[in-house]
């Protein structure tokens, strides 16, 4: 995974045309690392900002800066479709907050493995807290007073290169009991 700079771009135009254009350009260039923010659960605006942005026909991507230059030139040159680059902001790093809670030791081990091991290069785990509660009185099934014998809960934040954060976001999404927030972009000042 290169430590290349990434850019958050906002394109305006018909969403289908924008996506088709980006996909075509990506295939032509051979670049794999083009991330649609909606698909990768990357936060680009607040709730109302997102609604307004969508109503204005905005589509957001995070792309390598080396990809963005030629893309912007191609968009300038295109005449058949109405697409324009509304904005572009270089991304410094990404952040991903998460929480989890599970009720069996085997799920706890699996969750810890996902969170604590094999982090992408440059990604740091911060503010990581776990709380393990074992209540031997709660062993077995209950009908009216359900509590679990084993209860592991935790929360924390990943911080690092946006590409690594996106990889982690996908990993957490695939895991039951972990609830990742949307990825937060921090821009270069």
């Amino acid at each position: 995974m290169d430590n290349e700079n990434f850019v958050h771009i906002e394109l305006h135009g018909s969403a289908d045309e924008v996506k088709a254009f980006i996909e075509g350009f990506r295939l032509a260039s051979g670049e794999q690392r083009v991330y649609a923010t909606a698909r990768e659960n990357i936060k680009t605006d607040g709730f109302f900002g997102s609604l307004i942005s969508k109503a204005q026909g905005a589509t957001h991507f995070v792309v390598p800066s080396g990809f963005f230059g030629p893309l912007a030139e191609a968009i300038e040159a295109v005449t058949q479709v109405d697409i324009r680059v509304e904005s572009s902001r270089p991304v410094d790093y990404g952040e991903l907050h998460f929480e989890f809670r599970c009720y069996s030791r085997s799920d706890g081990v699996a969750i810890r493995e996902v969170i604590e091991t094999e982090l992408p290069e440059g990604v740091v785990l911060e503010g990581y807290e776990t709380e393990e509660t074992i209540d031997s009185e709660a062993k077995g099934s209950e009908m009216y007073s359900p509590v679990h014998e084993y209860d592991l809960r935790g929360k924390g934040r990943f911080h690092g290169p946006i590409e690594g954060i996106i990889v982690l976001g996908r990993r957490l999404d695939d895991q039951d009991f972990i609830h990742p927030d949307r990825i937060h972009l921090v821009y270069v000042h």
């Binding site: 599970c102 009720y103 069996s104 085997s106 799920d107 209540d135 009185e137 709660a138 062993k139 077995g140 099934s141 209950e142 009908m143 009216y144 007073s145 359900p146 509590v147 679990h148 014998e149 084993y150 039951d176 009991f177």
Partner: protein
């Protein structure tokens, strides 16, 4: 834990016994033992306030606030597991006892002998047989185990839900849930999408499947204890088949959609469990014994005996004895590893015993007031709920958020008070069935079907959720279950039932 719980039971019984003695003495001092004093007390009330035993018609004189402990215990059961689960887990016997005492002390103080009679009546006629049946079904069903590997395909999953729906009426919803939840979780262990399977399991096996016999769901057994014939519940097969059929077909296509999204690894069968088989199959004999005992008590008339001043039918005592024998035989003849593999413990039945001890104590004023119909403090409710579809929805919606057994009893009594005020049970039940059967159908289906609406609607719901979570299924939250599943899949079907049947 067990010792502490036993201690709480002993303390609870001692308090109740002490109160009864105190109240009896107090009542004697206050009124003397002369029946004319009681007659004078009755005469001082409205003529409408004379009850069926010649004493005060408690339902006509009890104030509305006397049902506060009943509302309190039902809300405690509904709210505490959600907001303070560990506190509730450790203290629910005390909280149940507290609500019971909050009602019993002033009740005994104010109404002396008659109050004592009402308390004894509900414990002898309702509570003890109710607990014995649940204990026997729980013990016997907990001795049967389905072992081995199953493929979690849409066809197999749907078949398991269908089997669970059918057997729930015969082994009880708790028994069927206990029997099948682990096999279905094992079958789907490798699948990424399994929440919908557990949710539909709660809908069908833990609730709707229990509609057809009094063994199926606690509300129906309470109805049976109050005079609803054993086989009458089979008449619910129309609405039950419609709801179960729609839900099973919906589930099949939903599961098929998710199955197509599974990876190859998710579709693999876990062979580690070995060949499919059933352990403890001999428990079916004991199940037959339970069924026979319950049917016997509904068909045989062997006279009656008096227990603590309450008339109890001999055939009911024979039934309870038979049920206890069936449960004990199951305990003695079932291999311990079979129960252990089922995750069997006595805790769920202790929960029922503690909480329903409080519920049956505190429900006394609510039932009495509702039985008084338009002469009671809940006349407004009686006047407002008049049509069969009213009963279906009001019983159902309250059963969604409060336990469905006491809710059923409450609205059965409301219907009795509305349709035949002053007519005693079981005659009133027979008259309802003969002349207004649709009301009983609406109350029964409302209570049983809509127990599936939330985790707190029916006792096995939470148990299934808890077992699923410990097996790695991330179940929806209380509101997630309600809004993303029940309202979406159940409410439209219930609206259809309401239009077609009521």
């Amino acid at each position: 834990m067990a010792l502490r719980q036993r201690g709480i039971i002993v303390v609870f019984l001692m308090v109740m016994t002490g109160l009864s003695v105190v109240s009896a003495v107090g009542a004697q001092q206050e009124h003397g033992s002369d029946p004319s004093v009681a007659a004078e007390a009755v005469a001082s009330q409205d003529h409408e306030a004379v009850g069926e035993h010649g004493g005060l018609d408690l339902g006509a004189v009890l104030p509305l606030w006397s049902i506060i402990p009943f509302v309190g215990i039902l809300l405690s059961i509904a709210v505490f597991p959600l907001v303070a689960p560990h506190f509730w887990h450790k203290n629910f016997p005390k909280i149940s006892a507290l609500w019971a005492v909050v009602f019993a002390v002033p009740f005994l103080w104010a109404y002396g002998h008659q109050a004592m009679y009402e308390i004894m009546h509900i414990y002898v006629i309702d509570y003890i047989p109710f607990i014995i049946l649940l204990w026997a079904l729980f013990t016997v069903a907990g001795g049967i185990r389905i072992k081995g590997s199953l493929a979690g395909t849409p066809m197999v999953n749907t078949l398991l839900l269908l089997i669970g729906t059918i057997i729930a009426s015969w082994v009880g919803t708790t028994g069927a849930a206990m029997l099948l939840i682990r096999p279905i979780l094992r079958a789907n262990a490798r699948r990424a999408h399994k929440v919908h399977t557990v949710v539909f399991f709660i809908f069908l096996v833990a609730n709707i499947g229990g509609s057809l016999t009094p063994l199926g769901d606690p509300p129906l057994f309470l109805g049976f204890l109050h005079g609803v014939p054993f086989f009458w519940t089979l008449s619910l097969i129309g609405p039950m088949s419609l709801v179960a059929g729609i839900l099973l077909v919906t589930y099949f296509f939903l599961d098929l959609m998710y199955w197509r999204r599974e990876t190859e690894a998710g579709r693999q069968i876990d062979e580690s469990e070995g060949r499919l088989g059933i352990e403890g199959l001999h428990n079916l004999l004991f199940l037959g014994g339970i069924l026979g005992g319950v049917i016997l008590s509904g068909t045989w008339h062997a006279g009656e005996v008096t227990i603590f001043g309450v008339h109890q039918q001999i055939q009911n005592l024979v039934r309870d004895g038979l049920l206890i024998v069936m449960g004990l035989l199951s305990m003695w003849t079932t291999a311990k590893p079979t129960r252990e593999a089922n995750g069997f413990s006595w805790f769920p039945i202790l929960e029922v015993a503690y909480l329903f001890a409080g519920i049956f104590m505190t429900i006394i004023p609510a039932l009495a007031i509702l039985k008084a119909g338009e002469h009671g403090a809940l006349a407004g409710l009686v006047k407002a709920v008049t049509e069969p579809w009213h009963f279906f929805w009001v019983t159902g919606l309250l059963s969604s958020f409060l336990d469905n057994a006491p809710t059923y009893l409450t609205f059965l009594t409301t219907a009795e008070g509305m349709l035949f005020p002053g007519v005693p049970e079981p005659e009133v039940i027979h008259r309802i069935i003969e002349e207004h059967e649709i009301f009983l159908t609406a109350i029964s289906t409302g209570a049983v079907f809509m127990g599936a609406m939330t985790y707190i609607g029916n006792a096995p719901n939470f148990m299934v959720k808890s077992i699923a979570e410990e097996s790695g299924v991330e179940m929806p939250s209380f509101f997630g279950y309600l809004f993303r599943w029940s309202i979406l899949f159940l409410v439209p079907v219930f609206v259809l039932v309401s239009f077609l049947f009521y």
